[in-house]
């Protein structure tokens, strides 16, 4: 069966004074109703991947190669009109800052109604009705009254719920979530995560959830993809990646997390910093920080090695380990 989202060898370059290699051959296959956690640090290419899927990157300064298919349609070949139909209808997105994602001069009810009418060719009254249903669905108390509220009249958590209501109003097949809980207080963050998990199950949509927070990724994902310098370095079912992290970067990331770290011990920090995307090293981009680095890591493309059925790692050392293991067996 073809996946709902099929991204192959996606590369994104930003041109200008310097050429920034933001994505360098990303492959993502997402099944219907699956939640993929895209985990990585700033500059790893998580957000660029989402924006490329909606073709929201500045066209004049961006070079995109590879292919993006959503629901069997080629996103990179779409014209403006087709894109408008896809955005919000088939693929929808939520953001970290709801204040910036919502229009400050329209009420929440009107914004949802407008989206619904635009995609469904329905009456304004039907649109308002849908808005009410959606505010109820995201558990906004006294939804009827909130229809006529402006974004600034709501608290942070309520605004985040309103943005989710807007994004889901046309029952998209894919929801792209770009750190939607990062700016929230701890007690609110968990509420929004649980809400998203519940809505995802009810509506059966596929989700790509971008986050830098491992805990958040664990709460929401079925599968994890770890990004580094514009490449996916490890991907697999959530449990496999958490229990058997295989890429040195994933291992380092999990080890450096403060969660459960004991006082008085040193954190196992990964030395150094991610490479600049306009000066990517040859070979594996993680090589300069890697404790297992060998001479062969520094040239050529590093291939993806399957670790198990659905768990794959982009690492030469891991490949060598696998070979040694199978030789013994």
């Amino acid at each position: 069966m073809t996946p709902l989202v099929d991204i192959r060898d996606l590369s994104v370059r930003f041109t200008g004074e310097r050429t920034v290699h933001a994505l360098n051959g990303v492959d993502i296959a997402l099944a219907r109703g699956e939640v993929l956690g895209l985990l990585g640090e700033s500059g790893s290419g998580k957000s660029v991947t989402l924006k490329a899927m909606l073709r929201m990157l500045p066209a004049r300064r961006t070079v995109i190669t590879g292919s993006i298919n959503v629901s069997g349609r080629d996103v990179l070949a779409m014209d403006e009109h087709e894109l408008e139909g896809m955005r919000g209808g088939v693929v929808s997105m939520i953001f970290q800052e709801a204040t910036l994602a919502l229009d400050p001069v329209y009420t929440i009810g009107d914004q949802i109604a407008e989206t619904y009418v635009r995609h469904h060719d329905s009456s304004w009254a039907q649109g308002r009705q849908r808005a009410l249903e959606m505010l109820d669905a995201v558990r906004i108390p006294s939804a009827k009254r909130r229809l006529d509220a402006y974004p600034h009249e709501m608290s942070g958590g309520m605004r985040q719920r309103a943005m989710i209501a807007l994004a889901l109003s046309c029952s998209p097949e894919v929801l792209l979530a770009d750190e939607p809980t990062t700016a929230l207080d701890a007690t609110v963050q968990i509420q929004i995560l649980l809400l998203l998990r519940e809505l995802q199950r009810e509506m059966g949509m596929a989700v790509i959830f971008v986050t830098h927070d491992i805990g958040v990724a664990v709460e929401i994902s079925d599968r994890l993809a770890v990004m580094y310098a514009g490449k996916i370095v490890e991907t697999g079912p959530l449990r496999d990646v958490m229990r058997n992290p295989s890429h040195p970067y994933t291992r380092g990331l999990l080890a450096s997390t403060i969660h459960g770290a004991r006082k008085g011990t040193r954190l196992e920090a990964i030395p150094g910093a991610p490479p600049r995307l306009d000066q990517l090293p040859q070979g594996c981009a993680f090589a300069p920080r890697c404790s297992l680095v060998g001479a062969d890591c520094r040239d050529g493309d590093i291939a993806v090695v399957p670790r198990s059925d659905r768990h794959a790692v982009r690492c030469l050392r891991h490949a060598a380990e696998q070979e040694a293991r199978s030789a013994v067996a």
Partner: protein, 358 residues
């Protein structure tokens, strides 16, 4: 002040038993609104806050946005003036016995936004040397000290000293802010969400650095953060704030393993799980933190508390000793005879014990 004074920490006056910092009855209220038509209201940002930081200790302050943790830091370092309360540095009252200028040498601060807190027009070396020069150190010595400190925070002076802030990464800039804070040989460093904006792998590096520097320079930290994992890792004692008030305080392990306040428990339960087989099933509390403008009467948490009773909206609970030494909680459920149905029975008065009928 002689030149060498700037390079060494101010003398220890009170001895090891004297807390380095004591905060007593600290309050700050901001007036908001009050336009021609609007009602004038008050943000009770910090309300009667008391705590002490002992020498060589790390005190963590946790809480959500609007709880007053950053305002507390700004009050301590004198960036804003308190409405009431005293700040006592090593036994001496700031403002009378200790001048603001001397206090600012002894207390330094690192902020969350590493870029906004650096002057974009100064090189890294000039930035770090600026403070000591203002305090009377000769320029060449100040610059030597700056290069020294750069090396201490893990940045090669030969490579970085002449760079500008925009040429550095977030983690590198935060190292510079730490170096600048140390340039005046402070005794207390206030870290206000200092690692919150950093990527995880860099955050771990900076936390390790902070621990090393604390040992090397004999520092005391006031560590403000919303991240409970980080606070647990670095702190000896923790203060939990909610809407301008301290709701619970105590030794770090007591607070994390034996929290008594429903809010502290909710904060702990709201931490995302790192175990795929033990995901969070239910949000510990509903709703957002209320607006700190005109906070709820009585216990400020009662609007979100699952155990709230009538008494909670009528009386404000007092911090009451609970569990291990130094652990205290402001909740009617731990305060004897508070009127809450879950409150412990009043301790029998001593007289009754003595005059036991025979």
């Amino acid at each position: 002040m002689s030149e060498t004074d700037v390079l060494t920490p101010t003398a220890d006056v009170g001895g090891p038993q004297q807390p380095l910092l004591e905060v007593k009855g600290l309050s700050k209220h901001f007036a908001v609104g009050g336009s021609m038509f609007g009602k004038r209201s008050t943000v009770r940002a910090v309300d009667d806050v008391n705590f002490a930081v002992h020498k060589g200790e790390v005190l963590g302050i946790v809480g959500e946005s609007g709880c007053g943790k950053s305002t507390t830091a700004r009050l301590i370092i004198g960036l804003i003036e308190p409405d009431a309360g005293e700040i006592i540095l090593d036994g001496e009252l700031v403002g009378s016995t200790v001048s603001l200028r001397d206090m600012r040498r002894a207390v330094q601060m690192v902020f969350q936004d590493s870029y906004a807190s650096l002057n974009p027009r100064l090189t890294i070396e000039d930035t770090i040397a600026f403070g000591p020069t203002v305090h009377g150190l000769a320029a060449d010595k100040a610059h030597a000290r700056a290069r020294d400190l750069l090396a201490k925070v893990g940045l090669d002076p030969a490579q970085f000293a002449q760079r500008y802030p925009h040429e550095m990464s977030g983690g590198q800039r935060q190292r510079i802010n730490i170096a600048r804070a140390l340039a005046l040989a402070p005794r207390l460093v206030i870290l206000d969400e200092a690692v919150s904006a950093l990527d995880k792998s860099v955050e771990a590096q900076v936390l390790n650095l902070l621990i090393d520097l604390k040992d090397e320079f004999g520092l005391t930290y006031l560590f403000i953060s919303h991240d409970l994992n980080v606070v647990r890792f670095i702190s000896d004692k923790v203060v939990v704030m909610y809407l301008g008030e301290i709701v619970e305080a105590g030794p770090v392990e007591a607070l994390f393993t034996d929290a008594r306040h429903p809010y502290t428990r909710a904060l702990l339960a709201a931490m995302p799980s790192h175990d795929p087989d033990a995901r969070t099933q239910e949000a510990p509390i509903a709703g957002d933190p209320p607006n700190p403008i005109d906070p709820p009467p009585g216990c400020r948490f009662h609007t979100r508390c699952p155990f709230a009773e009538a008494v909670c909206s009528e009386n404000a609970p007092r911090l009451t000793a609970t569990g291990t030494a130094g652990h205290s909680t402001a909740c009617h459920m731990v305060e004897p005879a508070s009127g809450h149905t879950k409150a412990p029975a009043p301790a029998p008065a001593e007289q009754e014990i003595v005059e036991c009928p025979t």
